[in-house]
């Protein structure tokens, strides 16, 4: 093994971004709790925290980008970033897993049990004898407390269109990746731009769907476990699409500024990985929330 195979591993100097991030998150949380408890000035605290966090993210990523542009990063450090992103996405998978788990548990255990199937017959006869376990749940066990929706969300309207949009965006981001590898900068920018447009249209259509659900279908967060799992799963997915779109916009701006080379472009790849992850989560949502 030659000496140059293991280059100097870059260990950054002291940094104030992390502590700023902690202060920002703490402020954000204190504001958030005060909003929930309806205290005065809560929103001001909340927004101050949000601003600090946004400033921290901007500053921290700027520092990383400029270090990378100054060639401080060795291939070994690049691998550290790759492992970091892989395991971060795995943690996100597990986060969604908790909510999918809740959906499966409700559909296959708690709701059928309350309807009198299987081991919990007494639960049905004693507590909820008028309840019928039909998924999607239009009539809740206690309709006086949780008014069910008037209809269920169908899979083959807006959701199918949104599936198509996201799958197409997965293709365009791959086209952009190949363009970057072949150093075709115009094609790269156009394909990235198309991906961003598709992401934004997905979000707009999703917003329209939510509006429709709230105003015309009675499908809300408080319409029982169907609405709960529907909005929490699609909502967290939508939040991730939003973050992914912001990431893509930043990558596009960096591409326009001439960042990234056909060999070195981990920022681009990480964003593409994230985008594909969001894509896969949507497929799961389409199958288990809308379709089956």
């Amino acid at each position: 093994m030659t000496e140059h195979q293991h280059q100097h591993y870059y260990v950054p100097e002291q940094s104030y971004w992390p502590i700023l991030g902690s202060i920002g998150l703490f402020t954000l949380i204190v504001g958030g709790i005060n909003i929930l408890h309806q205290h005065a000035y809560a929103w001001y605290i909340f927004f101050t925290g949000a601003l600090i966090v946004a400033f921290m993210l901007f500053g921290w990523f700027s520092a990383v980008i400029s270090e990378s542009r100054h060639d401080l990063y060795s291939p070994q450090l690049d691998r550290s970033f790759r492992w970091g992103m892989v395991w971060f996405i795995f943690s996100e998978v597990m986060f969604f897993g908790a909510f999918f788990g809740a959906l499966f548990y409700a559909r296959h255990f708690s709701v059928p049990w309350m309807g009198g199937i299987g081991a919990k017959l007494a639960t049905h006869t004693v507590l909820w004898d008028n309840f019928k376990a039909v998924w999607p749940l239009l009539q809740n066990p206690d309709p006086t407390k949780y008014i069910g929706p008037t209809e269920a969300m169908s899979a083959w309207g807006i959701p199918a269109i949104n599936t198509l949009i996201l799958l197409t965006s997965g293709v365009t981001v791959t086209i952009a990746h190949f363009a970057l590898k072949n150093n075709e900068r115009t094609k790269l920018a156009l394909a990235l731009f198309a991906t961003i447009l598709l992401g934004i249209s997905f979000l707009c259509i999703q917003a329209y769907e939510y509006h429709h659900a709230y105003t015309e279908m009675g499908l809300t967060l408080h319409s029982g476990i169907y609405g709960t799992t529907f909005f929490m799963l699609t909502g967290f997915h939508g939040a991730h699409v939003t973050i992914g779109t912001i990431m893509l916009i930043i990558i596009l701006l960096r591409c326009l500024k001439g960042h990234f080379t056909p060999e070195k472009h981990f920022g681009f790849e990480a964003t593409a990985w994230y985008w594909h992850f969001v894509d896969v989560v949507w497929l799961m949502l389409f199958i288990f929330v809308y379709w089956l």
Binding site: E13, Q14, P18, I19, G21, S91, A106, Y146
Partner: protein, 530 residues
């Protein structure tokens, strides 16, 4: 492992960046040793805070009747004691050891992502500020036990529950980032020649622990997010009126909670696998089987969560499955215990303080493991559930298991960190006080539980008085003994006999090739391992 021949780095380390002067060094640092030190001090601080709460609990339980606290406040004490000890004392303690030791053990310059390492630590003081502040704001602090079961935490949860929820979010963020860093470091920064199957077992156990952390901390985040939504946005995850189920919370929580138990013990297994060979002056018996046993324990931990819920009315077939799967874990755990004993067998044993704690760990963790097997049996658990037997069980695995592991590790590596030997006499006094008092404290709880004393109550029937009194005395002695530990640590930092690079003659591994105390940046050029 111990067969590794080590080539020291070509040039003595001469890095221009030493520690920065001033207190802000600790806030801005990206150095794995600084961050490890911060973690360890946070852990010790939280151990003392959580321990004081335990002292209050034992004072209240000293005799029947309400002596000091309202029942509500007693519930707040048990809840915060649990949360602080788990998330504040044990987990940061292990992460601190990982930060200090992993780069030195694998021949790395630092952690893979040093700035993120700083953030992992500096989220924690804010998280615990949020959590502990609930004692000082209007209304009760979290009072539903560390498990925060719905509906105690949803419909009936006090306002401070929201502080609890967000502080758990911050702790989760910290753990996930810390774990990602550890995995990236181990997979990417090993010295050339140090293959996975040559890594010290401590590094192996941390690799697996980090995987568990990344897998389950997001699930806990999901659980408390659902709790938040049920509390404020009218969702019905845990409310049967809307088609949800309070037991669903328990499923999600324990899907996190059971791997969490192993998160708190696997690094301790790693520490034992370092200490026992050193003081037996023998190679670790069954290195490969240790790696596979640890991995099996980690995988099984995802498949046994409902054994915490036998009395919630699971279908019988489910209970039988979870009972058998749980008992299966005894097999890889037994392999580990066997290997440690086999390592000691015919070794040239000496009992310095770390080895004393390791020996106590072996015996007392096994007791905790056996009471765990008893609890795993469904029919028996119907009787034991939510009694002091459970309290005795998990304190036997957590205190002589996890906490003794951390203490043993501190004694073992303190001369490396500070360059000074600690006082062996004081260390031995600390050990004997702790080892005896811990049994006086927790052993009677088995009898209390078998006799039917429920957990989480401030008052009890007269027939439980004697054992409670004995347990409380043991508790006070154990608490005071830890003050001695604090003094020993401070004394060693300030001075003591000089320690050479190889602190213990029987120890092997890269960390012992560095001088004591090691340079600020461990290995700027990676050493070669054959």
């Amino acid at each position: 492992m111990s067969s590794i021949a080590i080539d020291p780095p070509d040039h003595p380390i001469d890095h221009p960046h030493g520690p920065k002067p001033g207190l802000l060094r600790w806030v801005f640092t990206t150095n794995h040793k600084d961050i490890g030190t911060l973690y360890l001090w946070l852990s010790l601080t939280m151990f003392i805070v959580g321990g004081s709460m335990a002292m209050c609990i034992r004072a209240e339980l000293f005799k029947p009747g309400l002596a000091f606290f309202e029942p509500g406040f007693f519930n707040e004490l048990t809840t915060l004691h649990g949360l602080i000890m788990i998330f504040g004392a044990v987990m940061p303690g292990f992460v601190g050891l990982a930060n200090w030791m992993i780069p030195m053990m694998i021949g790395a310059p630092d952690m893979a992502l040093p700035r993120m390492n700083n953030w992992s630590f500096w989220l924690l003081p804010f998280a615990f500020t949020l959590l502990i502040s609930t004692l000082f704001i209007n209304g009760p602090a979290p009072d539903f036990g560390w498990t925060a079961y719905a509906p105690l935490s949803t419909i009936y949860g006090p306002k401070s529950t929201d502080f609890f929820i967000f502080s758990v979010h911050l702790m989760g963020l910290s753990s996930i980032m810390g774990a990602i860093n550890i995995i990236a470091t181990i997979l990417n920064l090993r010295a050339p020649g140090l293959t996975l199957m040559k890594m010290p077992i401590f590094v192996w156990t941390w690799l697996i622990t980090a995987f568990l952390l990344i897998a389950v901390m997001p699930v806990l985040a999901g659980a408390v997010t659902m709790m938040l939504m049920d509390r404020h946005f009218d969702t019905s995850f845990f409310n049967a009126a809307g088609g949800g189920d309070p037991v669903m919370y328990q499923h999600i929580f324990w899907f996190f909670g059971h791997p969490e138990v192993y998160i708190m013990i696997l690094p301790s297994f790693g520490i034992m696998s370092e200490i026992i060979p050193t003081f037996s002056r023998k190679k670790l018996f069954g290195y490969t089987s240790m790696v596979y046993a640890t991995s099996s324990i980690a995988l099984l931990s995802f498949l046994v969560w409902a054994h915490h819920m036998f009395t919630t009315g699971l279908p019988v077939i489910g209970e039988i499955y979870f009972m058998l799967a749980t008992m299966l874990i005894a097999v890889p755990t037994g392999v580990k215990i066997f290997n440690w004993v086999a390592t000691m067998f015919r070794g040239a044993l000496s009992f310095e303080t770390p080895m004393l704690f390791a020996t106590a760990f072996l015996i007392m963790f096994t007791i905790g493991g056996f009471s765990g097997l008893m609890l795993a049996m469904v029919p028996a658990d119907y009787q034991y559930h939510d009694t002091y037997f459970v309290v005795a069980h998990f304190h036997y695995v957590l205190v002589p298991g996890a906490v003794f592991g951390i203490i043993a590790a501190v004694y073992y590596w303190l001369p490396k960190w500070t360059g000074h030997y600690y006082s062996e006499t004081l260390g031995k006094i600390h050990f004997w006080l702790s080892a005896v008092s811990i049994n006086v404290l927790f052993f009677p709880m088995h009898f209390l539980g078998l006799a039917g004393m429920p957990r989480r109550i401030p008052d009890y029937a007269l027939e439980f008085a004697d054992f409670n009194k004995i347990a409380s005395v043991g508790g006070f002695v154990f608490g005071c003994a830890q003050i001695l530990f604090l003094l020993i640590v401070i004394r060693t930092i300030r001075g003591g006999p000089k320690a050479p690079a190889a602190v213990w003659e029987g120890a092997h591994g890269l960390e012992w090739t560095l001088p004591s105390p090691p340079p600020y940046h461990s290995f700027t050029t990676p050493p070669k391992v054959y």
